[in-house]
Subunit: 316 residues, 4 copies
């Protein structure tokens, strides 16, 4: 037998991220900085040994310090790079402020409205997650509202060049499942300018758990002429995560890598780490089985039959 | 397949208590209230869902709100009940204050000196573990010192009717392993009054992990005429925990259950929950395999060859 | 940071023993020798690194090679030692054969009938667990029947000097919950000779999980003049496990340790490892909180309201 | 509190796949079909509830029934699609037979030599993993040898159109670490025909664990004019897994998706599920941070300083 670690040297605090009842991913924790229950969800801020600080809502890992750049660059920049000159952006959800941060890096942006239903998430982020928002809440172009994002868009008068849906998965009992429906997407389309772009986080894409992803893509297709699902590997999730771009016709695959790099270089402050022209084409070209699963999906998510999940991606 | 729990309803934060590399006990956590590293050890205060708040030092679980009464009644009351009138008591270790609390319940006690090497543990307890000390630190009979307990006893002038050793297991790199030796026990004996009693926490008693327990018992036998090992099941540990009484000749098994109950009833404030005359005789009578293991143990723990552990009870 | 174990040296296969949703005990496995589903339950034979081979029924750990002597000596010998000369013994359950093995060590025993509802458990034991039965099934005094133990006793004509109930906990959906009721115990009493003794495994005794234990004791009290609950720590379970003796009046606490040792020495083949006169008195004297919980228990388990559990000891 | 699952309904057997000491991925097991230790490594065949049967060598998950198509299509088809007419293929490693199976789907292939050092792995696969080889071992074009793959290639006379390195990660104490060096790759290059292609599995690509991947890419660059690292998400690993193509000049990115689809359609029997022209371009375009990490890597793996790992991807 090899010499074993002593008890005192072993990691003893763990966060268990359930993929489903038969599989999970565990992170050793340095500590837990906050646990609380808002009107909408349980909020936890923990510090992992591998990924730094992280935000967890209703046991769903949202993002972690070390690799949130992947998720947030993947969510924000394809949409904004596709638009010729995005000035007004709405972010639905996005409580920890990182989507807002990435949006504000685009110098074209004049107004970024972030609408999160849960003020406590934003306050947690302000207190415990400074690298996530990195001052974005204080930017003079930001407006932060605490209300139902669907209600906000219904009532909003001025259109947006981009709408970003950065909300929880459509979990049973969670605050998000009514923001994945055909009716919601139809209303969002009306709030977009002519060249406006919608980007949504679209859940797990694993072979056994891509039901929500394919349903979201199929639901968007009922509403938008251009729908472009894509994925990015997020190490903290240990999953390929899904996203969708939806447009009134523009095709992001027609932008050359060089054109994307040019737009990023002209418009975006600082250096991106995940996204550029090559990444764009890589992630918007899905593996064959995912493309086929999307083609085969016939379900449409509606207000009367919304998809609801017990585990990410396993919606019914 | 049965209907499974949703992810949001499953416990996601866990404390893993390693018995050894091949076995552990896990507690779901509500949160972690404190993590820090003192000059002596890592200190964690966590809140478990089953056992309430608990103190953890160098990954070794010390005690938890819901069942610490078992450990602390088992450590303190057999010793104090055996003495005809315990007035002066020294507690070595015992940082969270519960041994002090139980000691002060004895109305005979005029002076209780608690000597813990780690001030930060005591400060943590004052802040986060109020039910553990329950005001004991503020009792006028208490004196709390922050220093090496061995040094304290070496230098102390006035003798004690009882000395309680409530310290960590003799872990590699931990602060406690020099307080389990023949030389230490010999010195303690000199500090005891004629009818003085020593009680020590004496580690795990599981069949595969009773090496420290049996060695402590055998080491005490080199010094004290009367040595009485005993055990109590501590649910938070999921282990039978070991203790030893050592005397200058008195035999705790000669006290009848009725006499113990009489002494407890006369001397102790409030109702005990774990200890009484019947419990006394139950726990001081060990199962056969433990008695035989103690008889068979020949090792003596010395300053030059102290027992040192990687896992509780698995000392070498 | 300390040097960490390499992946290849870490234990990777585990058995998780759920105490309840918030707490479990994990055993590293060398392998799993058998998994199957009989008409009554899921049967697993695994090999743990710490405890050797073990039997698991419906996820409930039954016993393991290294420490099953504790459970089986505790279940069998107090009952047989109490009887002046046990000749006929019935074992209800006990599929792996270890209760039969311990029973047959008593030279007074002329007939031992073991009745297990699940032939597949016995066949598994014969194939995979040779040290558990150790040839007991082939002893000429043994009779092994595969049927409902309750039905067997109802129909049996000749009385027994001891009846041993060695069955699963009264789990929801499991085969055992109708063998914990007042009606069942009343019928058992009629099958006992005048000095006959009943011994039952009586579930978890942990403070938060002793509901079944105290209910079994209280139910037996409705039927038997003498009821004596007791407990033994089983390291493989990491729990104090409960048992009850029930008699037509004999009091096991009136047998002196010396008398018990004399009986064991005269009657039992080979050396016991757990049980003797001192152990007898230790385990039959419960800690105060358990005695008080039994006194406070008013529930009686009946055929129309049987106790049914989701986790051991947490019956309702 | 919600109603919790009963113990009997919870998954109790688990395989823990350690990413590093602070993170792991756990799979519930139906059972373990085989555990053994060959002259080279520990071999385990387990059956997971989510991914079906799987092969595990020295605790390193190799592949699982449900998603091995991803890993094996990603390893084999880019290399074979790139070659104008692959006739002779050598597979180093690949014990479970799935790389051989995918290779033989190419009708151009006349000879496929599989060289695995560990006969016991192949025998395990034949017995327990029929869907992995799917008859490939019995194909008249197959030759299976049990010897050191490096030795085999050194001694081989006839060149190969493709060499596939499908071996373990370069683990400490494992059989594979001398097959990742510059000297080994130089020798392989000599065994390749003019348009010959090398494909190697190239370990974890996670941001904190891409050291082996980038080192393999950089080492190949010392030897081959064309080096093309790529990645595929393997759900069973919960990781993006790395691969490298190495060529004498051909550039796989110059093949259009249509040309790849044409070649696959002409040459490959049956339908692929993961790989086609779009997948090819997606996976060969890495995310920006990985491209930059490869560019920044200066280490070269040599026989005298081979990379050796404790955890996948964390080589030194």
């Amino acid at each position: 037998m090899t010499e074993f670690q002593a008890k005192k040297d072993l990691p003893s605090r763990w966060f268990r991220d359930y993929f489903n009842p038969y599989e999970h991913h565990e992170h050793a924790l340095k500590g837990i900085l906050y646990t609380g229950r808002s009107a909408f969800q349980e909020i936890v801020v923990a510090e992992t040994l591998n990924f730094g600080r992280c935000l967890i809502l209703d046991n769903e890992v949202q993002c972690a310090e070390r690799d949130e750049f992947i998720y947030h660059e993947a969510l924000i920049h394809p949409a904004l790079a596709l638009h010729p000159c995005p000035k007004r952006v709405a972010i639905i959800g996005g409580g920890e402020g990182a989507s807002l941060r990435e949006t504000l890096r685009h110098k074209t942006v004049e107004k970024a409205v972030m609408v999160d239903i849960d003020r406590e998430v934003v306050e947690c982020a302000k207190r415990y997650l400074p690298t996530f928002h990195n001052g974005a809440f204080a930017d003079r172009r930001s407006e932060v509202l605490y209300m139902d994002g669907r209600k906000y868009l219904e009532d909003s008068k001025e259109p947006f060049d981009a709408v970003i849906i950065d909300i929880n998965c459509p979990m049973e009992g969670g605050p998000a499942y009514m923001l994945f429906t055909k009716e919601f997407y139809s209303m969002v389309k009306e709030r977009l300018t002519d060249q406006g772009v919608l980007a949504v986080q679209a859940d797990n894409t694993s072979p056994a758990a891509f039901n929500t992803f394919t349903t979201v893509a199929n639901t968007l297709k009922q509403v938008f002429p251009g729908v472009f699902p894509y994925t990015a590997y997020v190490p903290f999730f240990a999953l390929m995560w899904g996203f969708c771009l939806a447009t009134k016709g523009q095709n992001p695959l027609e932008l050359s890598p060089e054109e994307i790099d040019r737009r990023i270089s002209q418009r975006v402050q600082g250096q991106l780490r995940y996204y550029d022209g090559i990444t764009h084409h890589s992630i918007l070209n899905l593996p064959k089985y995912l493309r086929e699963a999307i083609k085969a999906q016939t379900k449409v998510n509606t207000d009367s039959h919304p998809i609801i999940e017990k585990y990410p991606g396993m919606g019914r």
